[in-house]
Structure formats: C-alpha cells, structure tokens
C-alpha cells in the first residue's frame, strides 16, 4: 500500500508542468467557489439577521394553526410550563410575548387601518431595539395607557405626540374593542409597509383593549446564538404539547424571504456548476493523455506480475491526490481572503449611494461580512474528491481490459 502511495505520488510529478496546470485549474475553481459562496452566504445571513431582528425573532410559538389563519381568537396564555421551558434552556435569552391584531385608528376626521402590537416595552427593546427607532416623543413603559405610532401612520392621520388616538376593533371572541390612547412617541421604520401600519401598545393595555386579559397571539424568542436554533426548535418541539402549540422558525415564518435567497443562490449554483464542468473536462484531458502515454508501461507492469487491481488503485490514488492537491491549494488561497472579509465586512454604502439608500429603507446598513463557514470549504473538497474518483474510473477500466501484448506493441 505504501509502495502504491509512493509510486502514485512520483507519477504525479512526472510531467510537472501538466500537473501544475491541472492543479492550478482546480485551485482556481475551488478558490472561486469558496470565495463566492462565502460572500453570498455572508450577505444573505446579514440580510436575514436584519429582518429577523427587526420584528420576527428567530422563532415563535403560537397556538397551533395561528400562522395559517391569524385570528385573535387563537391566542393563548403564557403558562408557567412555557416560562419554565424557556428558563431551563440557556440558549433562550428571553421570550417576547405579543398580542397582535388589526384595528381601525382615527384622529379627528382621519382614519386608517393599523396593526396593533401589544408587547412588553423592555423586552421588545431588548430584541428588536424598537426604542432606537423613536424619532419624536419618548419610548413607552409597561402598564401605561399610551401608544407608539409608526411615522407613516402619524402622517396619514396628521397626529402628533401628545394627541389622542382612537382605536376601534373587534376583540377576543367578537367583543367590541375601543380605546383612546395618547401618542407617546413616533417610531420610524425603513420599510414603507411597516411604516404605514404599525402601532404599539404596552402588552397589558393591548390585552385590556382586545378583552383578552393574559392572552397572547405569539411568543417571539430571543436567542443567544442562531447556530443553536435547530437544537432550540427540537427542544421546544419535544417538550411542548404540539397538539396545542406550533413552534416555527424564522424560515417558516417568512417563506418568501427564504425563496428570495434560494432564487439568488440558484444563479450562483449554475455558475459554479458550469465552472466545475469545465474543470472536470480539464482533469479528464489530463487523465486521457496520462493513460495514453503510459500504456506501454502498464503493459510492462502487467507482464512482470503487478495485479490489475493494484494498478487501478495506483491510478486512482494519482488522480485523487492530484484533485486533493488542487482543492487544498484552493482552500489555502481562499481562506485568508474569506477571513479578511469576515473580519472586515464590505460596506456597499461606500461603493454606491443607491445601494445605501435601498438598504436603509429596510432599516439597516448595507455592510456585509463574508461567512466563515467550514462547510463551504468542506463541500468543495468533497466535490473534487467525487469528481476525481469518478474520472479515475476511466483509466481503471482501461487497465482492466489492457492486454500486455497489445499495450507493448506501440
């Protein structure tokens, strides 16, 4: 075995130039693939994080069926059991309970439809930093009879801080809901969608308004590390009564977002696919030449008693080693660059004002770090290994059918 390794290694270097060219082409493919995917995954990770942090949280708990049909009648109590579950998991930092429903808001002769979010001001600030969005007035407090109004809503209604907002809706199980709340602050969102329809009440105030004391429509989870999300989800799913509750990840909460990412990454996958097809043909060309050149030698080896299996293994090792060298070199070149952009995120705002404006609309800066994920590196290595292993079948088949007399008649 070690003899085969040694032979394979030396054989690789018989034609130094060809080997180096082959390695360089694999290096380039792996380098490019790793770099591109790291940048892309990093950017999408950042976008997703922003969206997640901005309202939804990484996961939510609802009454089963709530997300399908969002009705205040599907609200639930925050039981000790759920609190206990959250407390027992070190990865869940906080629960942000909310009561959300639609209502009609009016000021003087103006009316508009709004989404009322009853939430705990402190916890909301901890997760979504709502307090940092205040552009006028001050942030609200728990227990207060006061409302925070999104800037777009305020504009439509021509309402200012200190004015009183009238809110009317249908409450829990059809009760009439009506209330008057002084505007304590105005919050500004980047997204025009949200800006036009969000108003925030302290949780208790919202529960009274909707006639749903101690009830919630959702529990958003603030977690310590998004990498732990799968564990947290399975922890909740095994410990919660899933016939009563649904536990949803942000991916399930925002399938459109996930789809947008899929569409974008699919484009890159096609580029990578084409790149790898080209590389595959390149490697195959090398293998063809190598096999042709060495036919006589294979004949000699067979004549003096080397088994076909051992010869096949030797060739396989040669080709896979060649691929591994290229893949390794590609990773070694890509790593510092990816690491650099991981620690020094690209600020697209500096590159293009349009981009800056576009992202700021959604409430975040277009600063994207590269993702430093070992799986991106690992996949390239596996891919090259698979490609070379499959290509190596060709010379192995040749050797299987080789007749020493014919091989040596050349």
């Amino acid at each position: 075995m070690s003899t085969l390794f040694k032979l394979a290694w030396r054989n690789i270097w018989r034609n130094k130039r060809r080997t180096l060219i082959t390695i360089a082409s694999i290096l380039f493919a792996v380098f490019f693939a790793v770099f591109m995917q790291s940048i892309q995954r990093g950017a999408w990770g950042k976008i997703m994080d922003n969206v997640v942090n901005f309202y939804f949280g990484y996961a939510q708990i609802h009454t089963k069926g709530y997300w399908e049909e969002q009705s205040i009648n599907k609200s639930f109590e925050l039981t000790d059991e759920i609190n206990q579950l959250a407390d027992n998991s070190p990865d869940i930092q906080a629960l942000v309970p909310r009561l959300e429903s639609y209502a009609l808001a009016a000021f003087e002769s103006n009316t508009t439809g709004v989404l009322v979010i009853g939430t705990m001001p402190q916890r909301e600030a901890g997760m979504t930093k709502l307090n940092e969005r205040v552009v006028e007035g001050t942030y609200f407090q728990e227990g207060e009879s006061a409302v925070m109004v999104a800037a777009g809503v305020a504009e439509n209604l021509e309402i200012k801080v200190g004015d009183t907002l009238v809110v009317v809706s249908q409450g829990y199980h059809g009760v009439n809901a009506a209330g008057k709340y002084p505007v304590k602050g105005i919050v500004k969102f980047g997204s025009p969608e949200l800006n036009k329809q969000m108003i925030y009440l302290p949780l208790k105030t919202a529960q009274e308004f909707y006639g749903a004391p101690a009830l919630h429509t959702s529990l958003a989870l603030q977690i310590s590390d998004k990498g732990k999300l799968p564990e947290i989800l399975s922890y909740l799913k095994t410990n919660l009564d899933t016939s009563a509750y649904e536990v949803m990840s942000w991916e399930e909460l925002m399938p459109e977002m996930v789809q947008a990412r899929e569409v974008d990454t699919a484009g890159n996958k096609i580029i990578l696919f084409i790149l790898y097809v080209i590389i595959t043909f390149g490697i195959f060309g090398t293998i063809l030449m190598m096999t042709k050149e060495r036919e006589y030698e294979f004949g000699v080896l067979l004549s003096i008693g080397m088994k076909r299996g051992a010869m096949g293994l030797m060739i396989w090792l040669e080709i896979v080693m060649l691929g591994s060298l290229g893949a390794l070199a590609g990773m070694i070149f890509a790593f510092p660059l990816v690491y650099y952009f991981y620690t020094h995120p690209v600020d697209f705002g500096k590159i293009s004002e349009d981009m800056k404006a576009a992202y700021e609309k959604f409430g975040f800066e277009p600063i994207f770090p590269a993702a430093l994920e070992y799986s991106i590196f690992g996949w390239q290595a596996i891919l090259i290994l698979v490609i070379t292993s499959i290509l190596a079948i060709y010379p192995m088949l040749k050797i299987r059918k080789l007749k020493p007399v014919e091989a040596m008649r050349a």
Partner: protein
C-alpha cells in the same frame, strides 16, 4: 528434462478481419538450464513465440507446456500469477518503471511477492553487483545509459528467482560493447543461478554466444542446432 514443450503452435492475429499468420506450427522443447537463442528476421514470429511461452498471449492452436503446466488453460489472473512466479521478462527497450530508482525496479517484483525486507535487500545487492551497477542503485532509468538500463532489466527479471528468463531482443538498442557485456552477464547468471534462458535476436554477435540456436522463418522452425 524438458521444461518448455511446444507442439504445433499456431498463431493467427485478427482472424476475423485481415488474418496475419504469425506462427504456422512450431514444435520444439527446451531443457532445464539451457541458454537458447531464437533467431530470425524481423517479422518471423520471435516476439509472438516468446509471448506465448511467457503466458502473455495465447496460441490460436497447439499445445504449450511451461514448467510442467499447460498454460493455455490458465485464466487471465492465473496467468498473472504464473508470470509473477515463473517468468522474468526482459524487453527490447523501455523496460523499467521510470519513477523508480534502479534498486526499486529490481526490488519491485519481490515486493509484489511480499518477500521480506532482508531477503529483498540481499538479493538486490547480489544482483546489482552481478550486473555491475552497484554504484547506480539510486539513479532513475533516465539517468542511465541504454546498456545500464538493460542490465537493470536483467537484474529485475532475475530478482524473484524465476525458473525462466525470456528476453526479446534485449540487445537491439545497444552498441557492441554493451551487447557483449550484457551477454557475459546473462551467460554468467545462467550458469550461476541455473535458470532457463530463452532470448530472441537477429544479431550475429549474439547468435555466436548462444549454446542452442532455434531459427524460425515465416512462423516455422527452419533449423535447431546445439553447439
């Protein structure tokens, strides 16, 4: 005792397309320890005959027995095994594995046979000495002259102590000095190791050194003389 017996050997290449009758009924037998030259002009069938004796190729017709075994009946894998254990080949040129040193080339078949390190080392030293290239042990074939390469090839063929050494025009690419040198080495080893040597040639200087000369022409034995 006859160790090679050939009876009515015929070989037709491409029987279905353009048949080439390379051997047209060859009969002979060779005794243990003989030093035999198969002589004939180019295209007379020498290579074909040696390949059949060595189990690299099958006859189209006839009986071939080598070392007491009817080798026409062996499967591909059995033939590889048979060659590894019985036959040492020396070809016209490009015999050696270019990525191995002289020493590694000589050692290789013993390695395939899983002989011990000590046995291999001893045998390699002995043979390198015998063929006179002890000082070139660690050289790659490309760093050796044609004559030196053929001496390494002879050493490699002899290394696993096969019963037969088959050499197909081993001196075809050598100058006269290297030719006589190689023949001295082969003749000495033939005596010393008591192996049966069969080699082909059309070089008169080589023919003169053989103790038995089987002449073939057009795929037939035309003369067979022992001196």
């Amino acid at each position: 005792m006859s160790v090679i017996i050939a009876k009515g050997i015929k070989k037709v290449y491409n029987p279905k397309t353009i048949p080439v009758h390379a051997l047209n009924g060859v009969d002979f037998s060779i005794e243990k320890g003989e030093f035999t030259a198969i002589v004939g002009p180019s295209g007379s069938g020498k290579t074909t005959l040696l390949n059949i004796i060595g189990g690299l190729d099958n006859p189209s017709e006839g009986y071939i027995e080598v070392g007491g075994q009817d080798i026409s009946k062996l499967s591909d894998n059995e033939l590889i095994e048979f060659r590894k254990n019985n036959i040492g080949f020396v070809f016209q040129a490009y015999n050696l594995i270019p990525v191995m040193t002289a020493k590694e080339n000589v050692e290789f078949v013993m390695l395939l046979q899983k002989r011990s390190q000590e046995e291999r080392d001893a045998r390699v030293d002995e043979l390198m000495e015998a063929v006179g290239i002890s000082d070139k042990k660690d050289k790659r074939p490309s760093q050796l002259s044609g004559g030196q390469q053929q001496r390494v090839a002879v050493a490699r063929a002899l290394a696993p102590k096969p019963h037969f050494i088959l050499a197909d025009e081993p001196t075809a690419n050598l100058d006269s000095k290297s030719t006589s040198n190689l023949l001295d080495i082969m003749a000495n080893l033939n005596k010393k190791e008591n192996m049966t040597f069969v080699f082909s040639t059309h070089d008169q200087r080589v023919i003169d050194r053989a103790r038995r000369v089987i002449t073939i022409d057009d795929g037939r034995v035309v003369s067979d003389e022992v001196r």
